[in-house]
């Protein structure tokens, strides 16, 4: 004799629908766990929704893989970070730290902008000198910029820290000294005359351009090297971080949004929130609905009357307008959203379980249990609940997509929890910024696909559960 539970599992896993559903669920869970492990809980508030954190990223650019289909290659946004410097000591006591940045250039267009960021410089005696050198693939070298870290202020004592709160930013596009250096570099090495102001119109063209036709209009492909050398005068002096930012017109796996945020990161961050709201709400709703339904159906009388009247009324309310109204008044936190979804969600199940409980109450085995003197609660939990378990589980799974979609809808209407990034909120921002009318597909399609996929996973599992619950639908 096969146990009913094993039999149920066998029927469940015999269909492809269930297998695909479970496989998708495992993938969703892996992504959620990864997102929770890789990003701190405060990430949403501190980084994701903070435009300053995304200053160095290109705005509204497509993913970098569009290059695979593009006739001329776009420049992919690059943020080059410093690694361990090579250190030289000269006899006069100066210490030279050189940071190398290598860039393989194979795009057919120039970067949109180019800047250098320095963070956290500490010195003890005299301020360090910093220079930025460029080495082109044709072997020519140029010194682009050279400057000193600001001197100690009056009354300041060592160690002197600079650029801690606000990093130092050298913007090639607006720095006249760089344009001058470039102008003389081009004159000395290629014998071509360009005034600094001419160069200032698009300095990247002259850093990465080919002199072949005399006008630097096409990029010179190959390996570029940038050297940032820091000359310090004390062994304890240090530099925190140096980065070179080259503005591209494509970025990452899924491009960026209007603030410059990485859409792929946003999509990843949406996994845990969406699953959490869907599953937790569904579990609470199912437990509450089933318990109330069974209690009402089993005890009958006044209890039943109260449960039935309440569920009838709540069930007959237009859900979305009221939820919107209440969230608007209560504030949009994830807990308020879950609370309201529960408050409006339970009656459907209560009504159905009640009718099942009414039938079960008259069943001979329940009569038998009663005649043995079992307490009502024992009968409910020991004899009635196991009978409806497959049905309850199926309902629970079937409710998950409903709540996932409702949360997404609320987020899309601008009522999502602002401290948590969700797919609905990404779509809301995209919609409000006219992403559809501008054709920014990479911003609109991925979050929506994720909502559909997550909801669909649970629909598949619920469909797989159906033959278990309703034997009439079994085939073969």
């Amino acid at each position: 004799m096969i146990s009913p539970r094993r039999e149920a599992l066998r029927i469940f896993f015999s269909s492809w629908v269930s297998k695909i559903g479970i496989a998708l669920l495992v993938i969703l869970l892996i992504f959620s766990i990864y997102a929770l492990a890789a990003f701190p809980p405060e990430y949403g508030k501190l980084v994701w929704n903070n435009p300053k954190a995304w200053e160095n990223y290109p705005k509204s650019v497509p993913p970098s893989w569009v290059n695979l289909f593009a006739e001329s290659k776009y420049f992919e946004h690059k943020i080059l970070e410093s690694r361990e410097p090579v250190t030289f000591r000269s006899p006069d006591g100066a210490i030279k730290m050189i940071y190398y940045f290598d860039l393989d250039y194979d795009a057919d267009e120039f970067p949109k902008f180019f800047s250098m960021l320095i963070k956290d410089v500490t010195y003890w005696k005299s301020p360090p000198a910093i220079t930025l050198r460029l080495l082109r693939p044709d072997g020519k070298a140029a010194e682009l910029a050279s400057f000193m870290v600001s001197s100690p202020r009056e009354g300041e004592s060592p160690p002197y820290t600079r650029y801690r709160e606000e990093p130092f930013i050298l913007k090639i596009d607006s720095d006249v000294n760089v344009w001058r250096s470039l102008s003389s570099f081009i004159k000395d090495n290629y014998g071509l005359m360009f005034s600094p102001s001419e160069i200032g119109r698009n300095p990247e063209r002259f850093i990465f351009g080919s002199p072949a036709e005399g006008n630097f209009s096409t990029p010179l492909k190959g390996r570029y090297r940038f050297e940032v050398s820091v000359t310090a005068y004390d062994g304890r002096d240090s530099v925190g971080r140096i980065s070179l930012i080259l503005g591209g017109s494509v970025y990452g796996l899924l491009g960026t949004d209007v603030i410059g945020r990485d859409v792929a990161t946003g999509v990843l961050l949406g996994f845990p929130t969406s699953l959490f709201i869907g599953i937790i709400t569904s579990v609470i709703v199912t437990i509450l609905g089933c318990l109330l339904g069974i209690i009402g159906g089993f005890f009958g009388g006044k209890t039943d009357e109260v449960v039935q009247r309440t569920s009838d009324i709540v069930y007959n309310l237009p859900l979305l307008p009221l939820t919107i109204f209440l969230i608007f008044l209560m504030g949009s936190s994830i807990w308020n959203i879950v609370l309201l979804l529960v408050v409006f969600g339970w009656p459907g199940l209560a009504i159905v379980t009640r009718s099942i409980a009414l039938q079960l109450r008259e069943a001979p085995f329940i009569e038998a249990a009663k005649s043995f003197g079992s307490s009502p609660w024992r009968i409910i939990f020991r004899h009635m609940l196991p009978q409806v378990t497959p049905f309850i589980v199926a309902q629970m799974i079937f409710y998950v997509p409903t709540f996932i979609l409702l949360e997404a809808a609320l987020s899309f209407l601008g009522l999502g929890d602002p401290s948590l990034p969700t797919w609905g909120q990404m779509l809301e921002l995209g919609f409000r910024n006219g992403a559809i009318y501008l054709g920014l597909w990479w911003w609109i399609i991925p979050p929506g696909v994720m909502i559909v996929l997550t909801a669909f996973t649970f629909v598949l599992i619920a469909l797989g559960m159906e033959p278990v619950v309703n034997p009439r639908l079994r085939t073969g």
């Binding site: 309310l317 979305l320 307008p321 997404a408 629909v459």
Partner: protein
């Protein structure tokens, strides 16, 4: 008089729902101080009208200010704003029931009125037009496809449609709308991105109608897609269950044609549960309308709701919640009348 009595009971039940929502809403807006804001907005509006009216007769600025201030205090007393909110519950209820819903602080009708009720009345027909059309289309498709499928369980078409229903259940209406705009407006340029008429609308009546259809096509398709899956699926399941009943087998044994069995024996019995599905889907359609109208810029109550949220317009949101519930209760009643006609068993 079974029919009339049953319907009366249903109507009373629905009115109870409406009244309870109303009561709950009034308590909530009272306790959160929202009703104060809404009433103050009315007071400010009336005060500014009064100021304009008397500034022609009173020229002395000081006397004018004094008169305005007196009038304002009078109004505050009249609206009960000087007393705690719970003393105003009755007044507030009466106000809302008689559709005296206050003024919107951010939006106006085409004729320039900013009264909430005028705004809603202007937008209501557009929503009714959109939702009714979509619901009827979806219901008819669901009925015909569902019944057809039930007689061909396990066929390729059946399986394909099972998957389609599942996908359609998982598709957020508003996102489908966004994708449709991206594809049919941005890439293909065959449908407009939104709105109800071209600007300026065509003069000729027929051209106007065609223009309306052209604008309504995408929102209606989106709303139908969102609901048709579950309609087909429910019809199919109900019909499968009924097809296994004894009376169907008896009909087959009598040698009746499959057509007669399908439409007279099965569909007739399947109609009430399918209608139930429609009734249950009604609340969803209203929610769907809010989102779809927002996405397509369809000037109905849904878009108005979105605009009210974006501009935090308390009076407008309150009015819309009430009218949405009212419309829902009425639509629900109409469907229940159909139900009672279709299924004599529910008559008391």
């Amino acid at each position: 008089m079974g029919l009339a009595r049953t319907l009366t009971i249903r109507a009373v039940n629905l009115l109870l729902v409406l009244f309870l929502v109303l009561f709950l809403v009034v308590i909530i807006i009272g306790a959160t101080g929202t009703s104060d804001k809404i009433l103050m907005a009315i007071v400010r509006q009336e005060v500014s009208t009064y100021r304009q009216a008397i500034s022609r007769t009173i020229t002395d600025p000081e006397a004018l200010e004094k008169a305005v201030e007196t009038y304002k205090q009078e109004l505050i007393r009249a609206y009960g704003l000087d007393k705690p909110w719970y003393t105003r519950i009755g007044d507030m209820l009466r106000r809302i029931i008689f559709l005296d819903l206050g003024v919107s602080k951010s939006l106006q009708t085409f004729t320039g009125s900013n009264r909430v009720i005028d705004l809603i009345v202007e937008r209501l027909p557009n929503t009714v037009l959109l939702v009714t059309t979509a619901t009827v289309v979806s219901f008819l498709i669901g009925l015909f496809v569902g019944v057809k499928l039930a007689t061909a369980i396990g066929s390729r078409l059946d399986r394909a449609l099972t998957y389609f229903s599942a996908i359609s259940y998982a598709l957020p209406t508003w996102w489908t709308g966004i994708i449709f705009i991206l594809v049919f407006y941005f890439y293909l340029r065959i449908f407009p991105p939104g709105g109800m008429y071209s600007i300026p609308p065509p003069e000729d009546a027929l051209a106007r109608l065609l223009d309306l259809l052209w604008h309504a096509a995408l929102p209606i398709i989106v709303l139908v897609l969102a609901t048709v899956g579950s309609n087909i699926y429910v019809t199919r399941t109900v019909v499968i269950n009924i097809a296994q009943e004894d009376f169907v087998m008896a009909a087959r044994a009598k040698g009746l044609s499959e057509r007669i069995i399908r439409w007279r024996y099965i569909a007739r019995v399947a109609a009430p549960p399918i209608l139930t599905q429609l009734i249950l889907g009604l609340a969803g359609s209203i929610g769907g309308a809010i989102l779809t109208e927002t996405v397509f810029g369809w000037p109905g109550m849904g878009l108005l709701f979105y605009q009210a949220i974006v501009s935090s317009d308390e009076a407008l949101i309150l009015g819309l919640v009430y009218v949405f519930t009212l419309v829902y209760v009425i639509a629900r009643f109409v469907l229940e009348v159909f139900y009672v006609i279709l299924d004599p068993r529910v008559r008391i």
